[in-house]
Amino acid sequence: MFRKNFYLTLLLITGSLAWFNAHAIEIIIDKGVEKPLPVAIVPFGWSQAAALPPVDIAQVISNDLSRSGRFSAMEEKDLPQRPTDFDGVNFRDWRLLGMENLLIGNLTLNNQGDYDVEFRLIDIYKEKQIAGFRIPSTQAQLRRTAHEISDIIYEKLIGIRGAFATRIIYVTVNKNQDGTKIFSLQISDADGYNPQILLESNEPIMSPAWSPDGRSLAYVSFEEKNSAVYIQDIQGGTRQKIASNRGINSAPAWSPDGSRLALTLSKDGNPEIYIFHIASKTLRRVTENAAIDTEATWSSDGKMLAFTSDRGGNPQIYEVPVEGGLPKRISFNGTYNAGPEYSPDSKSIAVINGESGVYRIGLLNRATGQVSILTDTRQDESPSFAPNGHMIIYTTTGARGNALAAISVDGSVHQRLALQDGEVREPAWGPFMDR
């Protein structure tokens, strides 16, 4: 009896420790572009030579660029020299190694106890600086600053803003010793660092969605033994229950201007799409059909909603003007298309495409109506676009349960995002954050 109690106490202690200790995600590259751009990132100069810098800026940038699958970063041991300013660069040495782009920089601790990060991106062949900035930072912000530098390099060399300095939210599921499950809603940097728990529950949590300003999120929680939709402030943690009617309260999706949420409610009989105006707390019904209508997503101009409906016999994607009108079917490939999400330019819609019991992430071209399949696994779901539209993060289910993966929209780059233990699912990639 004593032993049993002792064991229980131990469980309670370790259980509560887990509350504060979210596990980081590790990213593994499965596949990159055929000819990744060679880039050399030299360890940054550091003003306090007596101590190690708080963050290895060059390493963070190097990991970001390699992980994108579009760059091959030279290994540190192969660097022919370690310049920290433009005049110190020996262009001939780098050219001999076939290196095209070089990043150098300095990290300085200033008198206020904060940091200055200064960097230069250099074109070896032209012997010219492509970009150079000094970014003020703090110890807590240094990793973020490094990701911002990665964003700039990506933009200068690929032609589109990088999405490294962004965050993701996702749901994890872990089993307690007694077999019960613990659900948690977490946020981390896009590279899996700094995971933090936003909500933990013994009841399921699903469908997390970002507000367009990246300050709040909406989600569904079953903590009151039925689905209910909540809005939560990320920084402060305060939250507000916005829908808890009889039946389903689910599928929150923020309008691009942040003023409204599309919701799925079945309070009037069966699942229908509604628009909830956050400030006035008013509700407007959009769909009216005896079939299932659910999981609406907003086009980037805020004028259209795409949603899943089985009014035609099986789940397919339909579009309807936000102001109302007759929904029009837009997906025709396969017997199952669901989980729509507009790309940032709204030219395509990511979907779950099901065919012969296999569920993959597809891209529905709005102009042609064709679905191109991106993934080659059997059970993929919950696609979410990076804010630059280059990558889609999604859930893939294998023998060990749910895990995250990401694929570029051209299919050339594939990553797996592994959690140390437990399941991780329903990723939602956050918006660009202005500094």
Partner: protein, 174 residues
């Protein structure tokens, strides 16, 4: 007269109480007595004064069709198979006879495809069971319909067996 009824009741309590104690190991004997009385013709007098108690006891009989509390479904379907007819009818009859009893119909789906679509599908399955039971006489106030979609699987696997076990409606009395 009343003494005689009491005597019979006491007799049957003792008799059935003992026999059922052997059948079911860990249940409180009070519950067993209630159940066996419910099956006894003499129990009508007892049942008239505590109707619900008699009714609830039928739920504890492992041989009653009421003991079946799960209805399974085909992929992407909310049609109730003919093999569940007895189950649905038994629960509907029980609810009709016990108007104060409220039942929770909990709809579930397998893990494949969209989570939100599955949440809707779970509700449609539970609604399908509710509709049938209502048609058979249970009243609207006796149901609480809730869907968990794929969020609360009965079996945690990722194969046909697990999926078949997870596409279900659970009939829950509290």
């Amino acid at each position: 007269m009343s003494i005689r009824i009491l005597f019979i009741l006491l007799l049957s309590l003792t008799f059935y109480g003992c026999s059922s104690t052997e059948e079911i190991q860990d249940d409180a004997s009070v519950v067993d007595q209630g159940r066996t009385l419910g099956e006894d013709a003499d129990s009508q007098a007892y049942g008239a004064s505590e109707g619900d108690h008699q009714g609830m006891s039928a739920l504890d009989d492992p041989n009653s069709p009421l003991a079946k509390r799960i209805i399974y479904f085909e992929y992407d379907s909310s049609d109730i198979g003919p093999e569940y007819r007895t189950t649905v009818e038994a629960h509907a009859a029980f609810l009709t006879a016990n108007q104060s009893v409220v039942v929770t119909l909990e709809g579930h789906a397998d893990e494949r495809g969209s989570r939100e679509y599955n949440l809707a599908l779970g509700e449609r399955r539970a609604e399908s069971v509710r509709r049938q039971m209502s048609l058979l006489g249970a009243s609207a106030t006796q149901f609480r319909v809730v869907s968990y979609g794929e969020e609360r699987p009965a079996v945690d696997g990722h194969d046909d067996y697990a999926w078949g076990q997870n596409r279900r409606v659970e009939i829950i009395y509290r």
